[in-house]
């Protein structure tokens, strides 16, 4: 027996979904979806759960993560109920549900809160810089240190507990008993999906989308690796320097394409960008271009006289690491691949 919760519609609309109440359950969306099948039928069921406000059912479901948003469902919806956008909003909502701090939800719901958080981080960085009397070398040293600490802290304090919570909702709460061996043997799936996003290939639209995304993921991971572990900004190795240039160029090139698509709004998936979507792609672009400029200025020997450039880069980096990675859209990198992992476990 389930009780209806009409307030959920209003809650979900704050995460971007709109007009999904117009759904009259024809099921066209599910019929045209190339990823939906008999065992995992969506998006109609998710729309129905959302209309009725069956929150527990949505929390315990992986289906929002099984959708890779080609937008066919939205194109074919006779009621303009935007099923694709609903699935996207459910992913945002789930992200806020998994997050034990509650900050994800706050940032998704409120643009003001997001701007405030970003501003606070920027001011913090500036305060530190002035505290060090804008001493470039010291700041750069701290910046490098910050990268490593932030990665470790964000992962262990925020992301790992959130993944555990996701596991709790998906596996533990419904009372599924899965042998430990299965957890280990299924790990391959986790990493395959994490680094290839190969499920996107199941979508009916062009595979260029998958390729661009894949290039961006590798570009991003490459930049993370070169700056954090190979210390690109201070390295003398020609290989490291070249690698850094290549990956940062990749990032800002692909993100320019992505931003262009969001502006053009030609595809369903780009047509309803939320602040969180814009921020994710724009900050990635800024990261790539500012890192590129920092190293370029350094190589030209003019970084010393342009401290502002490194400061800008550090602000962007800090905002990325402290706001977008733990509480923003970055988390889909983890949740999507863990969803495939948990799905494998569930079906074993």
């Amino acid at each position: 027996m389930a009780a209806v919760n009409t307030a959920f519609s209003r809650e979900l609309s704050k995460f971007g979904a709109f007009d999904f109440n117009a759904c009259y359950n024809c099921g066209n969306c599910t019929a045209v979806c190339s990823l939906s099948n008999e065992t995992d039928s969506f998006p109609r069921e998710m729309i129905r759960f959302s209309v009725l406000g069956l929150e527990d059912d949505i929390k315990g479901s992986l289906k929002p993560w099984l959708c890779y948003y080609c937008g066919e469902c939205t194109t074919h919806c006779p009621q303009q109920a935007e099923p694709g956008e609903l699935m996207m909003s459910l992913r945002r909502w789930l992200t806020s549900v998994y997050d034990w701090t509650g900050l994800s939800g706050l940032l998704y719901r409120s643009l003001t809160a997001t701007v405030a958080a970003m501003t606070a981080v920027a001011l913090g960085v500036l305060a530190y810089a002035f505290h060090e009397d804008l001493h470039l070398e010291k700041i750069m040293h701290t910046g490098h240190l910050f990268e490593m600490v932030a990665i470790a802290a964000v992962f262990s304090v925020i992301l790992l507990p959130n993944l555990v919570r996701m596991w709790y909702f998906i596996i533990l709460k419904p009372g599924l008993r899965i042998p430990v061996k299965k957890y280990i043997t299924s790990l391959a799936d986790l990493f395959i999906h994490m680094f290839t996003q190969k499920r996107t290939l199941g979508c009916d639209d062009s595979q260029v989308r998958w390729f661009e995304h894949l290039v961006l993921v590798f570009g991003y991971l490459g930049l993370l690796f070169t700056t954090v572990f190979l210390d690109w900004f201070s390295s003398d190795s020609a290989f490291v320097i070249t690698l850094g240039y290549v990956v940062s160029i990749i990032i800002f090139t692909v993100t320019i394409i992505f931003v262009g698509e969001r502006i053009a709004r030609k595809r369903e998936m780009n047509s309803k960008s939320q602040p969180s979507d814009w921020m994710f792609v724009v900050w990635l672009f800024l990261m790539g271009i500012s890192a590129f400029a920092v190293r370029l200025f350094s190589d030209l020997g003019i970084l010393e006289s342009n401290t502002w450039l490194y400061l800008t880069h550090l602000i962007i980096l800090a905002q990325w690491a402290l706001v977008i990675v733990p509480f923003g859209k970055w988390t889909h990198f983890l949740y999507r691949s863990f969803a495939m992992y948990f799905d494998k476990l569930k079906k074993s």
Partner: protein, 644 residues
Amino acid sequence: MNKRLGVYICHCGGNISDYVDVEKVKESIEGEEGVFLAKTTMFACSDATQKEMVEDIRNNNLDGLVVASCSPKLHLLTFRAVSERALLNKYNYVHANIREQGSWAHSDDKAGATAKAIQLVRSAVAKVRLARSLDPIIIPSKKAVAVIGAGVAGMRAAIELSDMGCPVTLIEREHFVGGRTSQWDILFTTNQTGKELVTKLYNDIAGRDNITLITGAEVISNTGSIGDFVLKIRVTPRYIMDKCDENNLAKAIEVCPVVVPDNFNFTITSRKAIYHNFPSEYPHYPVIDIENCTRCGECEKVCKSVDFSQQEQIVEVNVGSVMMATGFDPYTPGEGEFGYKLSDFAVTLPQFKRITDLNEGRLVYKGKEIRNIAYIYCVGSRQSEGDNNYCSRYCCTSAIHASLEAKRKFSNISNFHFTRGVRTYGKQELLYAESLRMGDIYFQAYEENPPSVDVNNGEISVSINDIMTGGREITVEPDLLVLVTGMVPRSDNSVASIFKLPKGRDRFFNEIHMKLRPVETVIDGITICGACQGPKNITESVNSALSAAAKSFSFVNKGQLALEPIIAEVDKETCNWCGKCQEACPFDAVKMVKEGEKEVAVINNSVCKGCGMCLPVCPVNAIDLIAFSDNEIENMIDALSSNI
């Protein structure tokens, strides 16, 4: 009687001639008595052959015609028309069916089919020998129509008839006009209120000289038939004088000690025995409900307009046609049906519409503020167990509209619709789409698994195995449960028996043919329209009302009617009135009259349909059916049974 007969035998392309040897049929018929001319033809119904027949009849002075071809259902009228074009009375034409009853039925036996065809044509020839020329029966028709029921259908029809120059008597059983429409507030799609519609129609009617509106009036008898109905109408007085003093009347209402449920509000409120009919009071003055009045006299003491001396009257009206627009009753759920009567907060859709109309600002019913409303659809319609198998058509739209109006008028309303599939056909679909977008929630169940209602300590809960959610059980605990009730025939439909109107299995009045004769009844001169015929919304009711008005007008506009002359006739010499024919007649066409000392049966020409039911019951064989007399039929049988 020596007739000169023409006989045509049709090949029908090959449909007949592939199995029946038409030349042989022609040869064997040529020698028959009276046959002047016999021909075969490829297609008897072709223009060329029809012209040839006309010329043959004219040139040879033929006085009888037989065409042996297909079923008379297809071409009887075609060849009757051929006769008329040749100036031969059309009843001198006889049709022989040698296709459906010959070639097609016996395609495995060509010789047998041919032999049968010959017998069939011979019997037709035997009949046509005795055929006589007949003229249509002309009866006078009074140019006036009685419309029974002054709801939206009856009022609209009356105006239309009046526009066509036809005097109308508009008869309303209640003391106020407007029927069900007057009880509704805002209507879809025009956003007018029911009151506005009724006001418009009433004002129009009031300004017309050729419409006589009688309220509080009930038809109690009819003597007469098409063209000349004589209706007796009992008119109950209002017991209030025409020109009354409003203040004194208000006092009179105040002092009246009798309190009864107010049917205008579907009994959710009460009224006095002396009452106004707000908000739709036409005519504009109140009435004393004499059935509930105790005659205590309190009102007379404070109001001089009260007049108990007014008497019931019997009025007689003579009209050429009668139009039925008597409307419907909302279905009343049985006790316990989806919680009805088990909770004060389980109401019907009409009651809910009155509740929303009567409240302002907040939606309050019986002291409780209403926020969550559940609607159970198809109550009293599409019943799997029960008599009402039909869909009431209007209720899905009406319930959705009422729920949307409630949402617009009051704040914090949530609507939960428990449906069996939403049927908002046509433009009404837009309303459904709007309702979805406003966040109304729809559930659906199949017939065999309807929603269940539990009432515990006055709290209602409605559960459904929702097929939209994979059959999951979903429960809603509403503040108010609305049973979306369908339409049923009027509980008091006694007016139908006065006219012997046939009813369908659904107990609504029946038309002759749902598609081609949708407003006529088998009782000549009586038309039906609106929801007395079956569930209809206002638009559909008015559509059928205008159609029925045109049809009724066609019965009366010429002042006379031409009727088919194939009817029963009584031989007064042989008849010794026994009454058996009167009992057998389904149309009440037989009357007993005294011819001097003798009692004999007389057939009412304008009512008799020539069905022949009276013929076999007559013990002295005094009745014959014109054009199907015993003599004719016996001759046909002789021809059929003669050897080839």
